[in-house]
Amino acid sequence: MIGYILRRLAQSILVVLVVTVIVFILLHQLPGGAARAILGPRATALQVAQFNTANGYDQPLLIQYFRQLGEWFTGNFGFSIKLNQSVSSLLAQRLPKTIVLSLLSLVLTVVVAVPLGIYQAVRRNRTFDYVATGLSFIFYAAPTFFIGIIMIEVFSQNLGWFPPEAPQSNGVGPIFEQFDAMVLPVVTLALLSIAGFSRYMRSSVLDNIDQDYVRTAQAKGASPQRVLYHHVLRNALIPIITLLGLSLPALFAGALVTESIFNFPGMGLLFWQAAQSSDYPVELGVVIITAFATVAGNLLADVSLAIIDPRVKL
């Protein structure tokens, strides 16, 4: 088990390193290179040259890369051009909020999608199943922002149940104080994953219902409920863990869109604003952090899988 975790960890570190190489390449693709990115478009050629010498950007690429890597690992992501703040302090401010939003919607997803998928599988090919499958097809195809717009129109503008904008204050605490303002963003973000997860859960249960061990359980005299909850679910839920890990990138992307719709000051909104104003240091910092979070999430999912599933080859 320890060996497996170490091996998985080594693989994850490797992936993170490859990510840094990719980001480094992106950095060098910027118009005018890193100097322009950091000094801004108004800097003179002399300033650029001085900057390059001072920061070692005139040295060979490999040395530059390792210097950059060192900076990143000590938490130095540079300085925002537009916000006049260090990227790491911006991230420290915004990242927790995005994590709260993502976690809340992930919890909502699991709480809704798992029972829904099971119920669909049990009542397969009946009206409810068809309706739920149809809806999941539509939500799967619907862009998050379109759902968000409709949410705002229906629940905020027409019904007036929830405010159209997410909590604006700094810090994580106020999010829970103005929880009604969080409802629409969380639900919007969750709907897409609910559509995907419930379809997956449905087919996972259906795959297991045909297995030989289900017949064994029936032959032991177990009731249909016991067969489902005691035997089938234990097997059907295991792949959901992997799916949770794999859904992280989509979740972050969804968070970006959701944050922009509801003006939620998280990392996604930070990135969007940075993208609109070509604030490269912020963009690169967010990309590295999200990639890191994704890799860590996948690692966590694999390790939990190894703990929960007795069959995983260690």
């Binding site: 195809a141 717009i149 970006l256 990639a291």
Partner: protein
């Protein structure tokens, strides 16, 4: 036996023993043998939903590309006299905030969405297939390095990557196709690699070695034809993903630059009027996106079933 020297043979007119769990093969009909393609096609046309999807898709293409030939509108000149008109005579779906006819604009925007969606999917599929095939074929270190690169890019949410890239390059339709295609190849790469790894150890591929055949023979005669089905099915889903991604970019204001547009960009403009009830600016593009993406997914599901025709016949 009356003629002991002659081999006793099975009759080809008889049925193999029926296997209760699966559909029984139908023996050997005397008529013309059907090709694998014909069998797959039959399964596909039996799938009503897939046919509906196909029809919707054809209608969408006709609407976007043939529609403008019959429904002439000016999509270049800004007309500030006719902004935000509700649906009425002359403008069946009203006009937008710059005075463009909304119906005509849906056609133009659809051209962009569909062109980019299909072209990007094709590029992504080709790049991914080649990448995955090389990794799967060579294996070992080559495979490890190539797949870590895939892991790394996969861990960066694709929307973040796209946003970053479009802040560097000014987006036009060809640029969008290229950028989307070059970021969406990861999934087909993984699929093709996984598939070729499993196919490589199949007994009919091993049999080629016993016959003295080369690896290239196996790749050309067995691995490629068997992978191609999976690749085509995945390409369909890639189209759906690309249409959605282009819509997201459009919504985030980083899509195709005006006066050209796509459905996501139209929706983005419409959201500004969410509180003024200009519904014709929001719902038509949103619903079109959903309908087209659902249709593409239905076709993809139908194709998957027909590619798996040989499994059904077991």
């Amino acid at each position: 036996m009356s003629d002991p020297g002659r081999a006793q043979v099975d009759s080809l007119g008889e049925m193999p023993p029926p296997e209760p769990a699966a559909a029984a093969p139908t023996g050997l009909p005397v008529g013309q043998a059907k090709s694998m393609f014909q069998l797959g096609f039959e399964v596909f046309i039996q799938n009503k939903l897939a046919i509906v999807g196909m029809v919707v898709l054809v209608l969408a293409v006709v609407f976007c590309f043939v529609g403008p030939l019959f429904y002439h509108t000016d999509q270049v000149t800004v007309n500030l006299l006719t902004t935000n008109l509700p649906p009425g005579p002359g403008h069946p779906l009203g006009t937008d905030e710059t005075g463009y006819d909304q119906l005509g604009r849906l056609m133009v925007g659809g051209q962009a969405s569909l062109t980019i969606g299909f072209a990007a999917a094709i590029i992504a599929t080709i790049v991914g297939t080649v990448w995955g095939a090389i990794a799967g074929f060579f294996g070992g270190l080559v495979d490890a390095v190539m797949m870590r690169v895939v892991d790394a890019i996969l861990s960066i949410p694709i929307l973040f990557l796209l946003l970053f890239i479009v802040t560097i390059v000014r987006p036009s339709i060809p640029v969008m196709i290229f950028v989307l295609g070059l970021t969406a190849w990861l999934v087909p790469a993984r699929l093709v690699r996984g598939e070729s790894l499993t196919l490589r150890v199949r007994e009919y591929v091993q049999a080629v070695r016993v016959m003295g055949g080369s690896s290239w023979h196996s790749v050309l005669r067995h691995i490629m034809p068997n992978v191609i089905g999976t690749v085509i099915v995945n390409a369909t889903f890639q189209v759906a993903d690309a249409i959605l991604l282009i819509a997201y970019l459009g919504y985030l204001g980083l899509g195709i630059s005006p006066p050209a547009t796509d459905w996501g960009g139209m929706l983005s403009n419409g959201t500004a009027f969410i509180f003024t009830n200009y519904w014709w600016l929001i719902y038509p593009p949103g619903i079109l996106i959903i309908v087209v993406v659902v249709a593409v997914n239905l076709v993809g599901d139908g194709l998957r079933d027909s590619v798996e025709v040989r499994l059904q016949r077991r």
